[in-house]
């Protein structure tokens, strides 16, 4: 009854606050759309300078989506490379093919190598043709498809963390929390009310982000949308409980912002967006205390590898554990405001 009254009040306040609603619902979509444009655009057209290249190789390269510019001398081509007009120069040096890469963008270098290898391989008909197939995903899987699931989880987490933290802080700094605590409400009812009231919006947000990414942005999706929703909801619940908990240790909105580099940014590094294989194994273990690590792992599993519930059960349990633990700590932290 009291929990419901509190949840209802939070929902009413939320609906009146159009800007916050927009931040919660539109900002993640906007950022995801931008990310989509950046990482999912047309594959970059490579510019390759050719110095005294045999005609068959040149035409093969042309067909492999590269813009071939013939140069008569190496010096001329190198000037163009330095001016940024070319990504690489291919030449025949003493009978052997040689490649000079511009090199400042590793992903471009890699593309050049792939294109060149294909072209050269086809020129040597007696070499066995390499057949390429994919265990997960497909040839068209872009980098957006591969880290998209992590982004979905991340944005749900980030925005809910921020909003829940600020909302709970505001309740404290405006004195309404103290006023609330002068009524017969239990501390657990306050936490429950916040979870229910905010939970409704986080549920909507999680669903909106997932559906938009998959059906509008066309993110690669091999699993069940319901599992994606479940994972997203669990992540936002963790963000909600963590945000309100940490807001007990902040006295201004700005201090909530200060939690971002402390709490949010490290999670990004451990969420699977970056390959951690090169990191000290002891440091790698830090990922086990990061909620986003489990969320991202499960989201990737579902969306790219088509995993079912059995495969993500551990992640589900751990995130639930995080939420319950943070919620209980919240109840304890409220003791600071009222003795009982």
């Amino acid at each position: 009854m009291r929990t419901r009254a509190l949840a209802l009040r939070i929902i009413r306040q939320f609906v009146r606050d159009k800007r916050t609603l927009a931040l919660l619902f539109l900002a993640p979509l906007l950022v995801l759309t931008l990310m989509n444009f950046v990482f999912n655009g047309q594959s970059v057209k490579l510019h390759i300078g050719a110095v005294s290249l045999p005609e068959p190789i040149e035409s093969r390269l042309e067909r492999a989506d590269a813009d071939i510019v013939p140069y008569s001398s190496m010096d001329e081509a190198e000037d163009a490379l330095r001016d940024g007009k070319l990504d690489a120069i291919v030449s025949i040096d003493h009978g052997a093919p040689s490649l000079l890469l511009e090199g400042s963008d590793p992903s471009v270098s890699r593309s050049v190598l792939v294109v060149l290898q294909k072209a050269l391989q086809a020129e040597a008909p007696n070499a066995p043709q390499l057949r390429v197939s994919y265990l997960h995903g497909e040839e068209g899987l872009t980098s957006f498809d591969s880290f998209g699931p992590v982004l979905i989880g991340f944005f749900s987490f980030f925005f809910v963390f921020l909003l829940a933290g600020v909302a709970f802080l505001r309740e404290r700094t405006t004195g309404t929390l103290e006023r609330l605590l002068a009524t017969p409400i239990r501390r657990s009812e306050i936490v429950g009310g916040y979870l229910t009231g905010f939970g409704l919006f986080t549920l909507l947000q999680a669903a909106l982000i997932a559906v938009y990414s998959i059906y509008v942005l066309g993110m690669y999706m091999d699993g069940s949308i319901w599992l994606v929703l479940l994972m997203n909801l669990l992540l936002t619940l963790t963000a909600l409980t963590l945000g309100t908990l940490l807001s007990s240790y902040a006295t201004t909105e700005f201090q909530i912002i200060q939690f971002i580099p402390l709490v949010i940014v490290p999670q990004v590094f451990f969420s699977g967006l970056f390959n951690l294989d090169a990191m000290n194994p002891w440091l790698q273990k830090l990922s086990y205390i990061m909620p986003l690590y489990y969320g991202a792992d499960a989201m990737r599993g579902i969306m790219i590898r088509g995993e079912g519930f059995a495969d993500i059960r551990t992640d589900v349990c751990i995130l639930l554990g995080f939420s319950v633990a943070f919620a209980l700590l919240n109840v304890v932290a409220l003791k600071k405001q009222r003795a009982i």
Binding site: M1, R2, R4, A5, L6, L8, R9, R12, Q13, R16, D17, T174, G175, T176, E178, R179, L180, L181, A182, T183, P184, I185, R186, R338, A339, I340
Partner: protein, 249 residues
Amino acid sequence: MTSDLVAPKPPVVEIDGLTRSFGGRTVLDGITLRIGRGELFGLLGPSGSGKTTLIKLLTGMDKADSGTVRMLGERLPKLAMMHRFGYMAQADALYNELTARENLLFFASLYGLAGSRRNERIRAAMGVVDLLDHLNKPVAAYSGGMKRRLSLAIALLHEPELLVLDEPTVGIDPALRQSIWKELLALRQAGTTIVLTTHVMDEADKCDRIGLLRDGRLTAVDSPEALKARSGAQTIEEAFIALGGGVRT
């Protein structure tokens, strides 16, 4: 238990040897106080003397470092006792995005009011503070005095037997202040016990008894007349300065 009281009914508030300090600084020091049923008790004291701190302790929102607080015979802090008093904080704690009605609905639900009884109480409480015409306005559009009155209405919602009001009439114009005092006196007639803090001397004059708080100590507790007589002063203000200033009588 305590038989030294003249009043036949048990005290509503019993405070014994109450001490509270914040970070090593003692804010309340050995407060002992009884407030009887149906009494209108005023706490008077300069800014920072510990009035609000005392109010929070006698409602059980805060916990004493030593000493005991009892409300209606029950040792505080105790959650069940939160039902028994109505509280008005020194700073208006209202939800500005919501209308007055929504604020009232929320607090009424917290006290377990529902249905037609809830609507009835909302109308009654808003009638007392003369805000019935502004029930559906968002609180953000209220003036300072209107917010104060809405806070008072919230304290009255569940018809508590004890009202605890921290500076209830700050920012309210004289005419309205008078009408609020009329209501407070009527509530007292009906048997409600009222504890309030104030800076306004003529308000102190209307109280049954006043407690003078100074640097965390209760320097005097008595009826306004007795205090004036004791300090040989004409007005409460003079008595306040004489007694509060540490002049012994």
